[in-house]
């Protein structure tokens, strides 16, 4: 049992790491990775929703009728997203303001619904939690990495600390909208290069 849990957990970290291997849930990835802090904050919020919804869907998998399962998943996910929204509003207000509309939009993040449909609905609760946690952490790491590249090149800082000397000219393109697409595309290319070997 422990072994299979480890297996489900680790696949989210490399073999199926979202959003690179599973090209799902791109909107928050592109929009909030202007800095490492935003990226990781969004990643943690998504992880929380993913683990909770995976667990609940898996618990209820024998009760939910197959025909109306999508509607049930959405209600479960929306409930947890509301929980996250209220928690962030109470405890991390500045981050809540920065992420803005993208917190309620976790509801329509394809990764969360995708995992509920593809994994949690067919597997036992402990496996579903491991899967959700693995996917969530993989997602957080990807967002953190993308945020680091963009913040470093576009602003010359990482987590607010200056990386380059005072003469550094920020490559503003990277923190603007077009830079997000190009940067993600190139990182995907890098992943393909490494993964092929």
């Amino acid at each position: 049992m422990a072994q299979s849990m480890v297996k489900e957990f680790t696949k989210g970290l490399w073999a199926e790491i979202p959003p690179f291997r599973l090209v799902l849930g791109l909107c928050p990835v592109l929009a909030v990775t202007k800095s490492v802090e935003n990226g990781i904050g969004m990643g943690i919020a998504t992880t929380f929703v993913l683990v909770c919804s995976n667990f609940l869907v898996s618990l209820l998998r024998n009760i939910i009728p197959t025909k109306v399962r999508i509607a049930c998943f959405i209600v479960i996910i929306a409930t947890f997203v509301t929980v996250v929204e209220l928690l962030m509003q109470a405890y991390t207000y500045p981050l809540f303001l920065k992420l803005g509309i993208f917190i309620p939009l976790i509801v329509v993040n394809c990764i969360v619904l995708g995992r509920a449909e593809a994994f949690a609905f067919k597997n036992a609760p402990h496996l579903a939690i491991a899967d959700g946690l693995g996917m969530g952490i993989g997602f957080t790491l990807s967002m953190g990495a993308l945020g680091a590249v963009r913040e470093c090149l576009g602003n010359g800082t990482i987590l607010g600390n200056t990386v380059f000397g005072p003469d550094f000219q920020p490559f503003t393109f990277m923190v603007e909208a077009p830079g997000a697409f190009v940067c993600l595309g190139l990182m995907l290319c890098l992943m393909n290069l490494i993964g092929k070997k």
């Binding site: 090209v23 791109l26 909107c27 509309i101 309620p104 909208a177 077009p178 595309g185 890098l190 092929k196």
Partner: protein, 191 residues
């Protein structure tokens, strides 16, 4: 009247939903490999987005706000959108089979298109009036369609070009999208 034109232009070009606000990127990459599917998706989005914009505005202003239950906004909006899509699907199947066949699989997919939910939330956050909300929804949807169709056109061309192996498919797609976003970036400061 002039205000509405400015609002529409800003929603179509300056704050383009795909390229400046990053909403609805999954269908943007998923359905842009062929021109046909791209136009199908664009049409379906225009159709649903305008209706969802109207209905969620009414829900928020006449149901959630008077009852002071705004914290239920996320749950109620997604339910409204999901049931609206279902309803539209049944209605079209019965009364306009030609259009239904055209939109096909794209209708159910729209439920999880964050562009729809995103625009509904923007309408509320910006405190638009009812008419403004309709104009904004329509303009955002047109912006979505425009970017999607442009992107599909370029992608069809890229498909026959020789692309280095690791860059193929999604990777080059994202870089291409970046270039389109760069051209839309020029509209910034216009409104």
């Amino acid at each position: 009247m002039g205000d509405y034109v400015v609002l529409a232009i800003s929603c179509i070009f300056v704050n383009n939903i795909l390229l400046a606000q990053f909403l609805g990127n999954c269908p943007f990459l998923g359905t842009s490999k062929k021109m046909e599917t791209a136009t199908g998706m664009a049409m379906a989005v225009v159709f649903v987005l305008v209706m969802a914009g109207m209905i969620t505005w009414i829900t928020d202003n006449y149901l959630l706000k008077p009852l002071n239950i705004e914290f239920l906004r996320t749950v109620s909006f997604i339910l409204v959108i999901a049931s609206l899509v279902q309803f539209v699907e049944m209605f079209l199947k019965k009364s306009m089979p030609a259009l239904y066949a055209g939109l096909g699989i794209f209708l159910p997919l729209i439920t999880t298109n964050c562009a729809v939910m995103g625009v509904c939330l923007i309408n509320i956050n910006e405190e638009y009036t009812f008419v403004q909300a309709i104009v904004a929804s329509l303009a955002y949807a047109i912006g979505f369609g425009l970017a999607l169709v442009l992107f599909a056109g370029i992608r069809e061309r890229v498909n026959v070009a020789r692309v280095p192996q690791p860059l193929q498919d999604t990777s080059i797609g994202l870089v291409t999208a970046g270039m389109i976003a760069l051209s839309f970036f020029a509209f910034k400061g216009m409104v």
